[in-house]
């Protein structure tokens, strides 16, 4: 066993033990605890939990690589702005009002504010989006286990499933939330240490957010010499209009994702919900402002180690290069992506002659930066924390949708607390098994669909939620028509344009990842138009919508919480 494997094993065992202890101490015995942690999580802890929930294996492992390699450098800004800017919308437009409204799930809001058919549409959308996401997380767990511990993928995923099973089934939202607080701590430390070390080593400035400014002009020069667009130059891959559309789809999609929104129900009060949003974005911003610096430093180091414009003979390639080429994550450039091993040992390689997988950047940056083995082990534990925390949050959405919105609301409204909790736990266990299976045998289109989930969320949920809160006369038929048209148009466009189905250029060159914005606008227009010509909601419903605008206890919200039908 190598040094790196030993340290990885030590960190993984320590962090997993920590999660189990926390989960055991926060086990629950009622549905409110299982679904929303009894609405009793302090704001700072809730913020850390939201941050861990939000930052998935993709944020931790791939984000820096996407910024560095998927475009020239600037093009990756859509993800940096898109995946943070949505929190401003959440904080100002949704969080306080949904907290005041109460209840447990997004379908609860849609069902209670509009009608039961709308609830079903929301349940299906929430479950589909969550399963697509969670499969990606489990696959991420498998990747970390295979690359760092030489355990095979199936065993890796099963170990991950067992850990999530233990704390999610036992503790529900309460167990998940407190474990996520620990997972946030692990992942942010694991992300910051190598970033700070590399920045200090290259520039002498320990703060990576400032440090990477000093290498940008040199990096621009290197890329220009290699014949690629400068790192900071705008619109070399993506046009101005498409940058706006994609960023908007990611922002509004963030504000429409069920596993994020549900976290504001766990806050203690309206005020705590606002504070939760602030803490969440603060904790997320620490990683999201560090990621572009990791991207710039890694690209700079990699171009440098591969001999800049001259290149180096393959026989003199650095160790990390051979390691990752060996597992096929560095290949020859070009469509065919032929393995490096096909090249003669004396052939000269430059940065532009190879294709480097996005996922390597974070996992290999300690190695590329020449940092010691314990740090590499820590990064692996951080990646696992990111994947597991997101997986557990998504599994809870699936479980509560099944147990609360389908079983309790549709099948057995007389169910006791105990029965509901049992169904919730069984649904959770089943969801973990399905997620694990999808993680081991990922359908080919998962990666593409995950990126599209944002478009679907913003074209379906966001208008229904915002209009439901801010416009008393928004009717059930209006919202339903809007959701179905928005979702339908967006899905049709995506199927028409993505590679595996149609591979068309689309209309006006709008990419499938940006079309969610168009779908959302269509949804808004349809919802408003239909609401204008359909009968207004009942006077009591309008008064309920009025009451959720103000913090504190109020009559109809209380009546509604006890189950009164206000339609």
């Amino acid at each position: 066993m190598s040094d790196i494997q030993l340290w990885t094993l030590i960190f993984v065992v320590i962090t997993f033990a920590l999660y189990i202890v926390i989960a055991y101490r926060s086990r629950v015995s009622d549905t409110a605890g299982f679904y929303v942690a009894g609405g009793g999580i302090p704001a700072s802890a809730n913020g850390a939990a939201i941050a861990a929930d939000w930052m998935s294996a993709a944020s931790f492992i791939s984000l820096a690589g996407i910024v560095a390699f998927a475009g020239n450098g600037y093009a990756g800004s859509v993800y940096l702005m898109g995946w943070t800017g949505g929190y401003v919308l959440l904080a100002l437009l949704l969080a306080p009002y949904l907290r005041k409204f109460g209840k447990y799930t997004i379908p609860d809001f849609v069902g209670d504010r509009y009608n039961e058919t709308a609830r079903l549409v929301a349940v299906v959308a929430a479950i589909v989006v969550s399963f697509v996401y969670v499969a990606g997380q489990m696959a991420g767990v498998g990747v970390v286990f295979t690359r760092f511990l030489s355990v095979d993928k199936t065993t890796g995923v099963i170990i991950g499933m067992a850990i999530v099973f233990f704390y999610a089934v036992l503790g529900g939202m309460k167990g998940i939330t407190w474990t996520q607080v620990a997972q946030y701590t692990v992942l942010i430390i694991a992300y910051l240490i190598p970033a700070v070390a590399v920045s200090a080593k290259v520039t002498g400035i320990a703060l990576p957010q400032i440090g990477f400014g000093t290498i940008l002009s040199e990096l621009n020069g290197l890329q220009q010499d290699l014949g690629i667009a400068q790192y900071t130059e705008a619109f070399t891959q993506t046009s101005r209009a498409n940058m706006v559309l994609i960023t908007a789809a990611l922002m509004f999609g963030t504000a429409g994702l069920p596993h994020v929104i549900v976290r504001f129900y766990t806050a203690k009060s309206v005020r705590a919900a606002r504070f939760s949003a602030l803490w969440a974005l603060f904790f997320i911003a620490i990683l999201y402002t560090t990621a572009p610096s990791v991207a710039a430093f890694s690209k700079y180091n990699i171009i440098d180690e591969l001999g800049g414009t001259q290149g180096i003979p393959l026989s003199q390639a650095p160790d990390w290069f051979n390691t990752w080429a060996g597992v096929g994550l560095i290949t020859q450039a070009g469509e065919a992506a032929a393995p490096i091993s096909e090249l003669a040992p004396d052939s000269v390689i430059r940065f532009t002659d190879v294709t480097i997988n996005n996922d390597i950047i974070v996992l290999a940056s300690p190695e590329i930066g020449g940092l010691p083995a314990p740090i590499v082990g820590l990064v692996a534990a951080g990646a696992l924390a990111a994947a597991l925390s997101t997986a557990s949050g998504l599994l809870l959405v699936i479980s509560s949708s099944v147990a609360n919105d389908v079983y309790y609301k549709k099948i057995n409204p007389q169910a006791s607390e105990k029965q509901q909790l049992l169904v919730g736990r069984i649904a959770m266990a089943a969801a973990i098994v399905v997620a694990g299976y999808l993680g081991i045998n990922p359908p080919g289109f998962v990666a593409q669909v995950v990126a599209l989930a944002f478009g679907l969320a913003c074209a379906s949920f966001f208008p229904a939620l915002v209009l439901g809160i801010f416009w008393k006369n928004c009717t059930a038929i209006g919202a339903m028509t809007g959701m179905i048209v928005g979702l339908g148009v967006t899905m049709a466009y995506m199927l028409w344009t993505i590679d595996i189905y149609g591979n068309s250029d689309g209309i006006f060159g709008i990419p499938e990842t940006g079309f969610g914005t168009v779908g959302m606008i269509i949804n808004f227009v349809v919802t408003i138009a239909v609401s204008k010509v359909t009968p207004k909601p009942s006077a009591e419903m309008q008064e309920l919508v009025e009451e959720i605008r103000y913090p504190g206890r109020s009559r109809l919200v209380a009546a509604h919480a006890e189950g009164k039908d206000l339609h």
Partner: protein
């Protein structure tokens, strides 16, 4: 709160939201995308300014915007007597 107070509370909430959302759009869609070329001619602590807004500045401003919102809404809640107990937030 009576009806006049409710209307006043909501009007001020909406005004605050509008101001913050305009800034939100200006730093991200404005400085980070639409006007990025012009801003890139200005250098800011080593960064071309437009690029800095796209990868650092907008994210920092987002955090500040939510902080201002939380702070101003706290003040508004107190003024209208609908503030919630401190221990519920920080206990």
């Amino acid at each position: 709160m009576d009806d006049t107070q409710r209307r006043e509370y909501w009007r001020r909430n909406l005004r605050l939201m509008a101001v913050l959302l305009v800034i939100w759009a200006l730093v991200s869609y404005g400085a980070g995308i639409l006007f990025v070329d012009a801003l890139n001619t200005i250098s800011f602590i080593g960064f071309p300014l437009g690029f800095w807004f796209a990868q650092q500045g907008s994210i920092i401003v987002f955090v500040v915007l939510i902080a201002v919102y939380v702070w101003q809404m706290d003040k508004l809640d107190k003024e209208f007597g609908v503030d919630e107990v401190e221990s519920e937030v920080h206990s």
